[in-house]
Symmetry: C2
Amino acid sequence: MGGDFAPYAVVEGALDAINKTSKPLKLILVGDETAIRTELGGRESDSIEILHTDEVVTMEDKGSKVLKSKPNSSLVRGIKLVKEGKVDGFISAGHTGAIMSTTLLSLGRIPGVRRPALAAYFPTEGRGKVFCDVGANPDAKPEHLVQFALMASHYYDHVEGFAAPKIGLINIGGEPSKGSELYVETYKLLSEMPNFVGNIEGRHLLTSEADVLVCDGFVGNTLLKFAESWITFFTGEIKEKIEEKLSYRIGAGLMKPIFEDLKNRFDYEEHGGTPLLGVNGISIVCHGSSGPRSIMNSIFLAQKCIENNLIEDTQKSLAIHFGH
Amino acid sequence: MGGDFAPYAVVEGALDAINKTSKPLKLILVGDETAIRTELGGRESDSIEILHTDEVVTMEDKGSKVLKSKPNSSLVRGIKLVKEGKVDGFISAGHTGAIMSTTLLSLGRIPGVRRPALAAYFPTEGRGKVFCDVGANPDAKPEHLVQFALMASHYYDHVEGFAAPKIGLINIGGEPSKGSELYVETYKLLSEMPNFVGNIEGRHLLTSEADVLVCDGFVGNTLLKFAESWITFFTGEIKEKIEEKLSYRIGAGLMKPIFEDLKNRFDYEEHGGTPLLGVNGISIVCHGSSGPRSIMNSIFLAQKCIENNLIEDTQKSLAIHFGH
């Protein structure tokens, strides 16, 4: 029931995932049964089950209160299914704060984790980057950022399929002495990690050798949202201009495949949602305006995390690195 | 002597400014006299004077040490001319840290200013935005950010010519409770300012009603550099694709005026440099890779600041607002 296009986007995304995957997949759609059945319109499947709930979390709800105030919401019941071991992962395009809070309170943290963090994939030339944290921790400490680096590296490795990803620290200059106190201290701690490649300035975020880009949740969230808006902004500027002249419209027609390729590559729908790393289970936050494609890709993302034992491997690695 | 293309860019920019301005303008070029005269190639003018210096600040110099270690550098001598009242403003494309440090140490702060801050103009649809701080204060306090808001508003008013600009606080959500401690506290203080329009999320930075966007220097610097790199990144992606097919090349040819218009509008060279606000004099930091156009526009920017009494008006306003 979460997100701007629920239940339509969720139901269609679920059906697409079932049709396209070659692996065993069972989905439980959690929400208003009548609305879901209407959306399914007879396209029932053995792979889909419905769990009826009658409460809905709205953007007016305070995220941290939802677990208690709306226990029969699709969001809370869905996360509880993970806790109860009835499903292997949870996906929602609903209230981000409520998903984060309820996930943390219900599933708890992987032993040794100080703070869970959101890890967002960002497409670039080549194999793409993971930014972490992108909003769970607007205030963070150096020891948190080091754990974000480790958790996001495992995520990159397990989901993108590249072992030993390189870690960069987002900063305002290359030298170790650059940045705020938080970043100067974090640099020192990260220097002990073998895959750390140093500070990465804003201008090099998309082109540096770093696969994993570490920052606090304030910086990451601001950058990510800003980047998303750039694409829309530029597309809008170009579209407006095109209308001015016939020759522009012809030119745009000829260049259409280029623009579509760019649009597809930089579309968040193509990669799926953002997992909350460090919690003891798979919980993926999708963009509020997710369409079916984003939901389908988030399901595939969850499949990869589960199949490749992301949680177990992260736990083992934390134990080795931080001695838990 | 500062910047990637000195003295060429500085000399050409200075000549262009003299040729294009309709106002009285006298420029002192500070640096190696032989190099400057060679660059001038006989184009001497009554409006240009040369002050010979024989030291050069390099990127290896520590910014805060330059005032003492390189007293005869173009950077230090140029700023001293402001201090001595021999010129009304200073412009350089050199070492940003050295310019900031030397300016602060030589000119001092406007009475009542806690921390000087860099204010960068960002072009958007409509009248553009000023981001402040974009790098002078990676660590800042709420009371600093409130002063940045006030100083940047005066700058916007005096240079862009729009009175009572609207002030927004960069944040990760709209509600007053959002963000790190720094931003939650800053929101409270800004709420007392009449032109404050609230928190602005990353996705709305370019399209919100706010003219002045306030943040700490870490966030501002990262955002600004990231934004600059986006333009280069996208242009590069499109250019690469265009080569693949004749129809793309024809389309690109037809659309060329649109791309050029976008390039011009989002080119930092078009607006000139970034002033250090809060210091007791005009000191403008230009992009290291500034060409003649950026230098010329920085000279015009300095002219506006001087003519419109930016320093005096900021001082009066601070006295009223903060009781100095």
